[in-house]
Assembly symmetry: C2
Homo-oligomer: 437 residues x 2
């Protein structure tokens, strides 16, 4: 693998405490997929030998964004159904079309999501859905870093098939593509996985030494039903079953009691905060301030494009920073550097990814470059404020994952964007006709 030097750049470097330092004019050396140096000034002539030099004089370089929750192939359903009551949306629109998704839809839908994610600076994505072989294949082709799970549902006879599929997925893809692909377990939610099934999953997780991701406490209605059935909260339920003793990533966590927050913190559960999806589906606004104050590690996620409806992590950073300010009428909450930290270092952390989410020697070279001459970033009094409060994914011009360029000067290098958009639209149009017949 070639050596690459990104020089003449402005570099945003996360520090250990979640703050950022800025190198005004410096360079990054990338070798074998890893950052070997991040320094001010110019690289030595000897360093430049046999290196590919990438002039980054117009860019702010920072760690790639980490999307900690999503359903990539659902990008095919973007704008398919909106503004409906939650159960009507699911029962009349989403579930009927979802049940007809085939391998080609998982493939083209995931590739379409990747066009959008790479273009908007996401380098690592998380997926919990079906057709995971196709998702892994798309990750292999696109060059993105992926943390994937076959969705595990325990309400039908398919429940053991899902575990078998997971085992196959692990055998074929765990650590594939130089470690870019990670498989973890994906029990869908407490309300779709009865206690016995969750116990099997916990055992599976122990035997294979695997972390888990799960949807948790997303809607008020879910909590009401859970209370009737189990007389506790979903968080207390998972603790009682022993699931929280495993490494866990919990998505949403909109409706939490103070006891729930304590349990999540004590068990070191990572939370994927999805503010855009939570607003759009009318779930509510998660208690971000309280979770962070309790010491819970929180990353950001878009959720699927059928409930967001885009995959732009800049918007999730902005919403994460803005909502607590408005809700608590306190403009000092969630300052810009903290929002970036959630989208990078903390996000990598809760995805169980070591050596990711920082610009530091020895860390993985997942790096993005933002056009600092964009009107939205002018003037540039504060890089972190401009990134969180003004930038959009469209300002990203360079994306590197594992030392490989996925986008340069705004051009995608690993994916055929026109073909993907065409095939995605064609395959979903066919599907809509099928559902309407």
């Amino acid at each position: 693998m070639e050596k690459t030097i990104l020089d003449n750049a402005t570099i945003l470097c996360p520090e250990e405490n979640g703050s950022f330092s800025v190198i005004d004019r410096g360079f990054l050396v990338v070798e074998e997929g890893v950052i070997s140096e991040a320094s001010e000034g110019e690289p030595d002539p000897s360093q430049q030998e046999k290196a590919r030099m990438v002039d980054s004089s117009n860019l702010i370089l920072m760690p790639g964004l980490v999307n900690t929750h999503g359903h990539a192939a659902m990008t095919l359903l973007r704008s398919y159904a909106d503004d409906l009551p939650l159960m009507q949306w699911l029962q009349e629109k989403i579930w009927p079309i979802e049940s007809k998704l085939s391998e080609e839809h998982f493939y083209w839908g995931t590739l379409l999501s990747m066009v959008e994610m790479i273009r908007s600076g996401t380098t690592t994505f998380t997926d919990m859905y079906f057709g995971m072989e196709r998702v892994a294949q798309a990750a292999q082709e696109s060059g993105m870093r992926a943390v994937i799970s076959q969705g595990l549902f325990g309400l039908t006879e398919m429940k053991h098939q899902f575990l078998n599929d997971t085992e196959e997925l692990i055998n074929r893809w765990q650590g594939a593509c130089s470690g870019r692909i990670t498989v973890i377990l994906g029990p869908h939610a407490p309300y779709t996985c009865p206690p016995d099934y969750l116990k099997e999953i916990i055992k599976f997780s122990q035997d294979k030494d695997l972390p888990l991701q799960i949807h948790l406490s997303e809607t008020r209605d879910e909590l009401k039903k859970h209370k009737i059935e189990h007389d506790n909260t979903p968080v207390q339920h998972l603790e009682k079953l022993g699931l929280l003793e495993r490494p866990v990533l919990a998505a949403h966590c909109v409706h939490l009691s103070s006891e729930d927050i304590k349990i999540l913190a004590e068990n070191n559960v990572g939370v994927s905060h999805n503010p855009g999806s939570n607003l759009k589906l009318g779930c509510g606004i998660a208690p971000l301030k309280d979770m962070l104050q309790a010491g819970i590690k929180v990353g950001l996620g878009t959720d699927g494009a059928s409930s967001n409806n885009n995959l732009d992590m800049f918007e999730e950073m902005r919403l994460a920073a803005l909502l607590p300010k408005g809700l608590h009428e306190d403009p000092t909450l969630i300052p810009a550097p903290l929002a970036i930290d959630m989208a990078t270092r903390m996000g990598a952390d809760i995805l169980f990814q070591e050596k990711l989410g920082k610009i530091k020697a020895g860390h993985k070279a997942d790096i993005i470059g933002i056009d600092k001459s964009s009107p939205r970033l002018t003037p540039l009094h504060s890089i972190t404020s401009n990134l969180v409060y003004s930038a959009t994914g469209a300002d990203v011009k360079l994306v590197m994952v594992d030392g490989n360029m996925l986008m340069e000067k705004g051009e995608l290098l690993t994916l055929d964007e026109e073909k993907i958009k065409f095939e995605a639209q064609r395959s979903v149009d066919q599907l809509v006709r099928l559902v309407n017949d």
Copy 2:
């Protein structure tokens, strides 16, 4: 003025009731700054004679976005100060640098805002600030439609000077540039304009037959202080003074009692809803659902870039549609077409602009074109949902105001973007040095 035909386009046409119809493949004819036809199919060969044909086969055409509240030159202060308590932000950061703004800052700051506004599909902007001669000059040069006010403050000896400035502004600019520039009165707020001064302004407004714009009920603190001084709410105060009998545009309206909402509705006061700025400054979340239910006409605004921090009306549409859903836990509130209606037809209406905000024969040709092949708009199951929940200002590729092209194929035609960014950054850097000395 030449005749222009935009053909092969998808056209989003607002209907009288706030919903939209779609012409799948059609054309718009623009003559003398006015839309003369919007039809399905192809224009006749005879129509095409002497017309400039603009192939719009990749575009969704819709009315240009109307920004109903802002302070354009404050774009120079984007990211200058963020995440601070409101009074510290104002007293220690914003006011000291604002007091040093000169003519050149108003000029370059406004032009910088216009680069961003045109690029993100805004065709009409509203301004209430200082240096309005320069703002009008920038509007003349850029080709944007502008509704402008000299800010009127009644707490210093300058108060009559501000009214004189307004009079001069009217004499020079009212109706200038074929009616693109409109001057209205801009009393800053009830807390900066004592009753006697407001009475003078009301008289001025009657004598000159001019509407007014005013900041109203933005923060909880403002309401507390007002209660102590006047023993009512700012809305009741303005009603008592007779100001609401005039045509009024009220910005923010975050903290309203049900009595306030009734008063605003009865007096036909238009409200500029600024969800992004209200969140960022910790003001709160305006009662949009209640205002609309009471029959109040609501437009959308960005406020200044020092408190937003961008001028992208797509984000304001998205926030306006998402916040009530999350807050009231109801995903059916503010559906996508309503958000677009607020950003176009209703926005034009509350700016006292007739024949604006619609795609209809006889209406002004303020039109934008959005790239329908953008990944964020793929697939295209619903145009209105994609525009509100997924698109960003960066997806806008064509902007026409008053029949003149301001942007085509993503290239600005009336402004020198590189020069403006350079001069804006240079002039504000100089200002920051001045303030820090």
